[in-house]
Symmetry: C2
Subunit: 334 residues, 2 copies
């Protein structure tokens, strides 16, 4: 049973998950997430290797196209156990859901190269599971993410995403919500719409646009080629996204990932879908957004000590290169 | 000239340092910090490869034992240039100091294995440079750090530390100061002393103690074997540390690093010295402390999306292993 502990000095919460790295001796090896399974537990025929399936998308041939299963090494589990906080310290059960979305039966079906229809199906699965977890009790926030490449921290090559629900709104999300709320209180304009307006006027960091979405690189990108996709009309919850926006998001995600793959030669990256807490899903001040963070460097003592990232490629330059590559993807008929 | 940019959505500050990764084409390779220089610019005889020396410690033979030079790829530089913020965005010159402390003429003089006297000399250099930067104008906060092993983000094997001064107190440091200040306002007890009291009563996470210092692993360690060294009598500024505490800190740092080297087989790590902002160096609510963060895993989409770390080894178990190893170091006469 995992445990959520709060650091008394920093206020940060940490998940203690000893089963993830359990070894019979005191010396931890590299964490289990870098382990390579053989044969691949996500390939057809090995379904028995995963925990019991929660959802599947079936093709015309009756075979599965997408499977959703609980994470075998879940950070959070939907079991409400008593807390074991030491005296003077704050802890609680690591209650929540942690699911894996297996994106394709094909072991190397990279979202950066598959047909857009496959990306649409994956994003529809995101939305389906988002709505399912939103209906579960004890859930405060839902986060969807995807790790690509071993330098991204992924444990398995077979393309998959993950969706987690947390029992409270983590401090980092709280802070961003507060930041956006204060902006709205002050200006009566949604912060995301405001930033998008500034980015569209400036133009240098825009990667791609659709009728309802804009892809751009943040003015203060934390790493080279960090890219965001934001709806033009802010919408607090990813669970409320409609089919038309979902289709556009699939097309845009496909060409942005395809462009990054071309420009950076299949870089490792993390992709995160940020959304509002469930208690406040219809607010005017926040917007869901998709964040792609290529992992080209290693944060070191400077970042740990100051909390400030050092980025060696300004987004104006990176966005120009990615914009051109995305243009080539679109011209090629993706 | 680097630039400090504030992200309008997150409020975080990022240093744009295009010269660190400058390449003639748009595609960034792995960042320059992983570059291996040949011959080593920090070895004796190659002094001409570094920028002009700022300080040195000389041995009885007249040769240098420790050298301090400006970082050739500085994130912050003491040049106050006009800002170039785009319309609607906040930016400022990346003003500050960024120095390298070359810890020894010997290329493989690991702080985990050298004589304690050498560690004392390195920490005395920390304090000397801290005081020198504290006397410079335009400095708000001073951070000292050390990266060991390529997975820690270091660029050169030759043992060295770094010291930076920032032109404002970064949001992460501000937050910790606020957290400590609120605790003091509420309880009239210093937060660090309070936590140390709880840790000493509990005992399970204590690694080592001296008359003026305690080494322990935080209740909510962000990674396996994260270890802190904190003074028993809180002192806001590392610049105020006296010779007696400096000596104890050297002995303790040496055996903790030696213990980690034994238990984790020379792990990569980051070491950070946290201190109060210069404007508030005599406060009652904060304390300088030394943080050692082994780099055994890779933060992935989960951490990026939730801001919460997942730790696969509980500190009670890790501290027991490290405590035993530190005991062996001390028994061996270190």
């Amino acid at each position: 049973m995992n445990e959520l502990r709060q650091d008394p000095i920093t206020g940060d919460w940490v998940i203690m998950a000893p089963d993830r790295g359990a070894r019979p001796h005191a010396v931890p090896a590299a964490p289990d997430r870098t382990r390579r399974a053989e044969p691949c537990p996500f390939c057809p025929g090995n379904e028995f290797q995963t925990p019991p399936e929660l959802w599947r998308l079936t093709g015309a041939d009756g075979a599965w196209r997408i499977r959703v299963v609980p994470n075998k090494f879940a950070a959070l589990t939907p079991i409400d156990a008593p807390t074991r906080g030491a005296e003077g310290f704050v802890a609680m059960a690591a209650y929540g859901h942690h699911e894996v979305i297996i994106e394709s039966p094909c072991h190397n079906a990279d979202l950066a190269t598959v047909a857009v229809a496959q990306v649409t199906a994956v994003l529809a699965a995101y939305r389906q599971r988002y709505r399912a977890l939103a209906a579960s009790s004890g859930t405060a926030l839902i986060v969807i993410f995807r790790n690509h490449g071993s330098a991204s921290g992924t444990s398995l090559d077979h393309p998959h995403s993950q969706i987690v629900s947390t029992p409270f709104v983590p401090p980092q999300a709280q802070q961003r919500l507060e930041h956006a709320r204060r902006h709205f209180d002050r200006t009566h304009v949604n912060l995301y719409a405001d930033v998008l307006g500034n980015e569209l006027r400036d133009g240098r960091r825009i990667v791609s646009t659709r009728s309802d979405l804009v892809a751009f690189q943040p003015y203060a990108s934390i790493v080279p080629f960090e890219t965001w996709i934001v709806p033009r009309h802010p919408q607090a919850s990813f669970g409320h996204i409609d089919d038309s926006v979902l289709d556009q998001l699939a097309g845009m995600t496909r060409v942005v990932l395809g462009g990054l793959r071309e420009v950076l030669h299949d870089p490792p990256y993390n992709l995160v879908v940020h959304s509002s807490p469930l208690s406040d899903e219809n607010n005017d001040y926040f917007s869901w957004h998709l964040q792609i963070v290529p992992r080209l460097g290693i944060a070191a003592g400077f970042e740990l000590g100051t909390g400030m990232a050092i980025n060696s490629v300004v987004p104006e330059r990176a966005a120009a290169a990615l914009r051109a590559a995305v243009g080539r993807q679109i011209a090629a008929g993706v």
